[in-house]
């Protein structure tokens, strides 16, 4: 050892270091969450307590949420987002599950090339896809429908979900399936009866994650939808931001309803997502 510190001194130094470590991480997290906390607190701000008065509300009420929940257009936007996001999640889960199973259980020549091909779609700018597919969507009659949103979002989330599901499949020993085949089960039966139940929690988490990403998406939602009654929640909020006479408290309440429920789900699923994403990144 080069340093001339005694074990005791090292121990003290370590303790001081840890103390500052905890403080700084705690502070960073707090600073990072400030805007979100600000949004949540101000969602309860009474409309008669204007924002000029101060950062934090002095009068609290639930009026904003009542207003949002009784606003037909906003509620329809929530419903539309729900339809698009859940269809997109289902679509990606099916396609992604098949592909991930194929990648994890078969060794074939173009395997890594195809993996790279699928990853490359993450490089494609969304605006390019919108520009290219806008006319196509018009020609085949799906412009101003949810279909392009479901497929495009599903596709862009495919690489992520294949990563995540691939690691889930690989965590299940093939022997489990082989045992079932010995008993005469076909591949499909072994997948549906043995594998899928085992990874069901992971699948649900992946689905929820894709739901969240699609829910948050804006570009496709504004590019492929024109009718106001088909607006998604992101486009509805964006349209309100641009307005001259913005009802700030109402807007914040809408933004909060559009994000906080998902954040709560996210806290529960992030453990699954994190390990899958990280493993994927290490491989890629």
């Amino acid at each position: 050892m080069k340093t001339g510190l005694s074990l005791q001194q090292r121990h003290t130094l370590r303790k001081i270091y840890l103390f500052f470590g905890y403080i700084s991480v705690g502070l960073i997290v707090l600073i990072w969450l400030t805007p979100i906390i600000w949004m949540i607190v101000n969602g309860f701000r009474d409309p008669t307590d204007p924002f000029f008065n101060g950062i934090l509300p002095t009068k609290f009420s639930l009026v904003n949420f009542q207003k949002v929940l009784s606003n037909k257009a906003t509620m329809r936007a929530f419903g539309n987002s729900m339809v698009v996001s859940s269809s997109s999640a289902l679509f990606t889960l099916i396609v992604g599950c098949l592909a991930a199973y194929g990648f994890s259980r078969y060794r074939f020549r173009l395997s890594s090339a195809i993996r790279v091909l699928i990853l490359i779609i993450r490089l494609f700018p969304g605006v390019l896809l919108s520009i290219a597919l806008f006319h196509v969507a018009g020609k085949i009659g799906v412009y101003d429908t949810f279909l392009p949103l479901i497929i495009l979002n599903g596709l862009l989330n495919l690489p992520f979900s294949i990563w995540i599901m691939d690691t889930m499949f690989e965590s299940i020993p093939i022997e489990l399936e082989e045992a079932a085949w010995m008993d005469g089960a076909t591949r499909m039966v072994s997948v549906f009866k043995i594998i899928l139940p085992l990874i069901a929690p992971g699948l649900a988490a992946t689905g929820a994650f894709i739901f969240l990403l699609t829910w948050n998406e804006y570009l496709f939602a504004t590019a492929f939808i024109r009718s106001p009654e088909k607006m998604l929640i992101t486009t509805a909020i964006a349209a309100n931001i641009g307005q001259y006479n913005v009802d700030f408290t109402g807007l914040i309440a809408t933004g909060m309803l559009a994000s906080v429920p998902l954040l709560i789900v996210f806290i529960f699923i992030q453990r699954f997502i994190v390990s899958g994403l990280a493993l994927g990144a290490l491989k890629g």
């Binding site: 098949l98 199973y101 194929g102 074939f108 605006v127 804006y218 954040l263």
Partner: protein
């Protein structure tokens, strides 16, 4: 000779047959599993690229209402346009500073979190700090608009409290808007990169650090000689992914400033969107998209080369 030859033929035939059998046994299920994903990828990414390439060589006539082939005219027009070079510069800046912020800050935070703090504390903070990332950029844009409002911004309130005469409305100032957007972007997406880097750090064998300690390497030296080389490829992969994503970033910028004020936050993505969906100049939008794609692939290729060279 001839028997030998036919033997070889038979041999080849049986090889072929075995190959075909193998094909039926091995490839068929694979096609069922991987096929849908591959078809989708081709249909919805490669086909649009070809379409955009084609569209970018056309010109729409307002007299005949028809498209005609003009070769590289759209590209030449873009490069002659002084605003377009400003937009390229701004796209580069946005992408560069955001990426540097995400990866740099993410790395530092990950190092702090990985320096022996309680595991439960670390995973709880990681989950919490990740929350802004899970909020829609549109909701973030809404918060940003209010935070940049000259009369009601919380930051403005704080400045007023300290009797500052600074008028705080960064998104409305040509000289500040870009910086503000970069900071917002760094704030929202750094946690994601922090998370990825942290996972890579947690995957490093602790014995390596023990060995280094015996050799007298501590603190920064460990970071420099053990941590960095080990997670170099992860960092590079993340950098590539990040650069590409931020170069095409749209949502937050469009909803907060639409490229303004006075085009000071206009980037390729907003330019393309405006050219296409607002001014209906699809050929120009297509040409700019092709340039964006080329840029993205050049960046990806350069980083791939750097990665290969280091191995």
């Amino acid at each position: 000779m001839s028997t030998n030859h036919s033997d070889m033929q038979i041999n080849n035939l049986s090889k072929l047959r075995r190959g075909l059998l193998n094909l039926r046994h091995k490839i068929n299920p694979v096609i069922i599993f991987i096929g849908p994903a591959v078809i989708l990828v081709i249909l919805i990414s490669i086909y649009p690229t070809i379409r955009v390439l084609y569209l970018s060589t056309l010109e729409y006539s307002k007299k005949t209402f028809e498209y005609s082939f003009v070769g590289l005219q759209n590209y030449i027009a873009l490069f002659k346009n002084p605003i377009f070079s400003k937009i390229l510069k701004q796209t580069w800046d946005f992408s560069l500073y955001s990426t540097a912020g995400h990866i740099g800050l993410g790395f530092i935070l990950a190092l702090i979190m990985n320096s022996g703090l309680n595991r439960r504390f670390v995973s709880a903070s990681r989950a919490l700090i990740l929350l802004p990332w899970a909020v829609s950029p549109i909701v973030i844009a809404m918060i940003a608009q209010i935070w940049s409002h000259p009369l009601i911004s919380p930051i403005g309130h704080v400045l007023k409290f300290f009797n500052s005469s600074i008028e705080f409305m960064p998104l409305g100032m040509p000289g500040q808007a870009m910086t503000a957007l970069i900071i917002i972007n760094i704030w929202q997406f750094t946690p994601f990169y922090l998370l990825m880097i942290l996972s890579a750090l947690q995957g490093i064998d602790p014995e390596l650090y023990e060995a280094a300690k015996v050799d007298g390497a501590t603190g920064l030296k460990q970071t420099r000689y053990i941590t960095l080389p080990l997670i170099r490829n992860v960092l590079l992969t993340l950098t590539m992914f990040d650069f590409v994503t931020t170069a095409a970033y749209f949502d937050l910028i469009w909803v907060t400033t639409q490229g303004g004020p006075v085009r000071s936050t206009d980037v390729l993505a907003t330019f393309i969107y405006r050219a296409g969906f607002l001014t209906q100049d699809w050929a120009r939008a297509a040409a700019a998209s092709v340039l964006l794609l080329i840029f993205v692939f050049i960046v990806a290729a350069i980083i791939q080369i750097i990665m290969r060279r280091g191995e």
